[in-house]
Symmetry: C3
Subunit: 307 residues, 3 copies
Amino acid sequence: MRHLLSIDDLDRTGLEQLLDLSERFIEVTHRDIPKVPALRGKTVVSLFYEDSTRTRLSFETAAKRLSADTMTFTVGSSSVKKGESLRDTVQTIEAMGIDAVVVRHGSAGAPKRISEWIDAAIVNAGDGCHEHPTQALLDVLTLRRRRPSGLDGCRIAIVGDVRHSRVARSDVLAFSALGAEVTLVAPPTLLPESLEGWPVSVCYDLDEVLPNIDVLYLLRIQLERQHEALFPSLREYTSRYGLTAARAARLPADALVMHPGPMNRGVEISAEVADGPVSLIAEQVANGVAVRMAVLYTLLGSGGPVA
Amino acid sequence: MRHLLSIDDLDRTGLEQLLDLSERFIEVTHRDIPKVPALRGKTVVSLFYEDSTRTRLSFETAAKRLSADTMTFTVGSSSVKKGESLRDTVQTIEAMGIDAVVVRHGSAGAPKRISEWIDAAIVNAGDGCHEHPTQALLDVLTLRRRRPSGLDGCRIAIVGDVRHSRVARSDVLAFSALGAEVTLVAPPTLLPESLEGWPVSVCYDLDEVLPNIDVLYLLRIQLERQHEALFPSLREYTSRYGLTAARAARLPADALVMHPGPMNRGVEISAEVADGPVSLIAEQVANGVAVRMAVLYTLLGSGGPVA
Amino acid sequence: MRHLLSIDDLDRTGLEQLLDLSERFIEVTHRDIPKVPALRGKTVVSLFYEDSTRTRLSFETAAKRLSADTMTFTVGSSSVKKGESLRDTVQTIEAMGIDAVVVRHGSAGAPKRISEWIDAAIVNAGDGCHEHPTQALLDVLTLRRRRPSGLDGCRIAIVGDVRHSRVARSDVLAFSALGAEVTLVAPPTLLPESLEGWPVSVCYDLDEVLPNIDVLYLLRIQLERQHEALFPSLREYTSRYGLTAARAARLPADALVMHPGPMNRGVEISAEVADGPVSLIAEQVANGVAVRMAVLYTLLGSGGPVA
């Protein structure tokens, strides 16, 4: 594995190896000094063309815990403003001797194009409406830790704006690869135009699926997109697709709730559910650091033991 | 001590222990390699909802000298813009395994609320018009180093916009706790509406107090607040409350002048005084790093020797 | 050497010693762990009053590879916005115990003034239309590595907006000091008003010089300055001074092409030439890190071996 651009880069075995390695790093993060020298002397640059402090901090925490040096390149303060092309920007970064570039970009496919231009390892940290593979990895890791028997046969509903969600795309691939049965739940306007080839079922009615699922994965409603009028109003969305306490009570007893963050409390999820015992949201964030350590270690490490 | 939210969290003994510890770190900062491994593997995040490079750099320098990892979370580039609540933001930061959060926030009480939500150590780096405890600590440390006999009986005048000053609030508490006699000097419009419970005297006339004080502490006039028309004009303010060279000449021979920075030269303090021998301003900044090392060490350290 | 403010601070011997030291650091950057402990415990602050992620990352990479701690002070998030003077800002930074300040500033002479106010080492990372000495150092290093016989007699044409270019000023000094023959090529409006004392020839016609030079150094056209109407149009500029593939074909067989970046592809240089074998552009960026390591090491190191 030279880059992590898409969950499709990994088969089931590759996915499981990354998850097993992530478990090793969860153990590291619980040590008194949660650092290993594995990537000492390596430099990881965060190249973020869209704001995301949450994802950037998670990657930088991961890199620092591997003893790598980190630097941030945000578009607001860059020569991008001076009209430099993406290609020249990344070739310049590489020429400085950077080992890995963590890329967040508004255009689907940007990380892949970058990987064709330079030799450094590229990690896709979200590209347009395409993919967000480390989010999917931390999601499957979080679920697997709660289901020692694995994800085979696990019934997962992904609810919300699937159409514009890179998280949904990556999660569908990862959940399916590990044997889960995925149902997309959304109004037709928030589903992709074609689902050909997606290994999923579709349901327009959240209340119908509630009693028969093991995991409810709620997507973030991107309020900044609301002018596109994909649904009549937030209140309407919440009344049909929001996970209220009343709806949560209709889930099976051992069902779990996930959300990639940041949450719109009171829109796609009620505060009561978000903070309640069925919510895996904090675990998802915590596991994100370990997963990103595993990814960086795999891409940049010498292959030796984690130590 | 689990957090540093207010000077009120510390009694006189607690204050003096922190100051003694700060002296140890002043010694560290004078070494050829001014670093100790005390906080290796700890991560300190600066969560700044208001700009303050000066305070942020001081905390980050302190953290790095203790061998901690540091990360910055500024509101401009964060999911806060996406509408995430303060609570979700800090719970996310904590879930990544952060050990301490240094918080600057425009609302009084924000750091305290955060400390109720998460387990990480919280350091108040300025909250609204409420407090700025590390500023007060560095101020008393700076004074104590100049007065080996201590602050008992030391006559300190705090001059300026006390009403909106978190520095003034924290300084009054710290100076008083160590036995100093504090006088607030300002026009009535710049004093708090009620001073009930404040261990201070009040005087509206700077010229009256000048001959009888040991320390003149000048607050910054926040020019961005001037539209509130709390005084007729800057020139008027300077003519009545600015420390000109003429006024400085009327101070007792061994009086000292302090300012928390950044200064408005020619407004609350003349350049001649700011750069003169009575000014402790550069010492305040230098001691700020040592004080913040002491605070982070106390909150996150194992309790072992400084080394 | 206490500061690096201008190429004029260095005589030929001084220049060559810095270049020799840079070669040592090129060797370091090729190691498995490209770090040396030389500046452990030192702190380097980037004080950037103008955006330049490219230059800032290069300096920070250099500092980290010397094991120094780095911090960034950008004007957008600083007390500068609150009206603090440059002098107070840098005195504050120094009081925190910083060892070196890397300064980018819009005003010619700002780094020199700073060096008069504080004791920390100052590195000029570009000041107005004055100088950019580390750019010149990396340029001569890059050329010297390609010409083992040295720069004596090397015919270099610097093409473009010399008038507003700090790179041109520093490069003229460095190239000349090492024995090269420099020709400035530009329309009269883009040349300095007076060239008295500049050790250069001038030519208004790029096509005339093409067959008789060893190195073509293309300056960036600063599109943001175009409203000043220094030339009729970009297309006109490109037609007369742009290095198209056709023009490149008329260069001597072993001629080399340089550019300080970021490039305007299709304006001062065609993509074909920029990415072709005569282009040293990526080498310039790579050598920039080594040169900046050499500068920081010279200013802050103990004088011991590089290790």
